[in-house]
Symmetry: C2
Subunit: 146 residues, 2 copies
């Protein structure tokens, strides 16, 4: 899709798939976020999280994995950044995540006539319809060639 | 460290370590961000990035890996979210990343006397001192027990 193909208010959804396993949580954490509450059930019980919790970056990675299958922008998904980025709650073992992406704005560039930005909000939900990640920001999007 | 141990203006640094390899970039992307410009040199040459680029989420994961070794908050690093989150440029094969964390504010909670927030900015730099990730936000931090 090109920038012109989007409309404010459009919502794209990914139904989600496999449950997140405790093993996957520990494996990701071992590589990128080796903190006790992401690695060990007993340590997690003594922590802020009260039980094993996925790294927020693992949730972000799983979100990106779904986003790639959800939003088909010509040239790929190229993120400029976010102005809102929060984890309302952690992802837990057994959670099945799904995705909603809402189009909030279409920004045509003044300086670069061939491209613009898709202003959007990504919300990742667990199986209880609780948000685990909310990101609002811009994706680069090319304009449709004339 | 407890919230009282931090001061506005403090900077914590991680010197970085191993270079990011093309294999690691492709492996991460295969799992979490399977787009051609993160997976294949030839495809990347035809893309916005012009050569193989790491997923921004891979850069974020490598950043978190360094942050865990850099900032020692009692109870662990528990992120509330960011109000600024941007990737000024991609991480490339061969890049060696390093980290700087600046304390921007100490927020004591009104409602929860035992905790507060460390308002901070994380900047990840490559070996050319170019920022590849900038995140400004809050980490939960407990107050020193009386």
């Amino acid at each position: 899709m090109f920038l012109e193909d989007f409309e404010v208010g459009q919502v794209f959804r990914h139904p989600g798939g496999e449950a997140v396993t405790a093993d996957a949580i520990k494996q990701f954490a071992g590589q990128f976020d080796p903190q006790p509450f992401h690695l060990d059930e007993a340590a997690a019980q003594q922590s802020f999280f009260r039980s094993l919790a996925a790294s927020g970056w693992h949730t972000a990675g799983l979100t990106m994995r779904m986003l790639v299958d959800t939003l088909h922008i010509h040239g790929g998904l190229i993120g400029a950044g976010f102005e809102e980025f929060r984890w309302p709650r952690p992802t837990r073992p057994g959670d099945v995540l799904r995705l909603e992406v809402e189009v909030l704005g279409i920004k045509f560039s003044q300086s670069k006539p061939l491209q613009g930005f898709l202003y959007h909000r990504v919300t990742t939900y667990n199986q209880h319809d609780e948000a685990v990640l909310v990101m609002t920001g811009n994706l680069l999007a090319p304009r449709r060639p004339q």
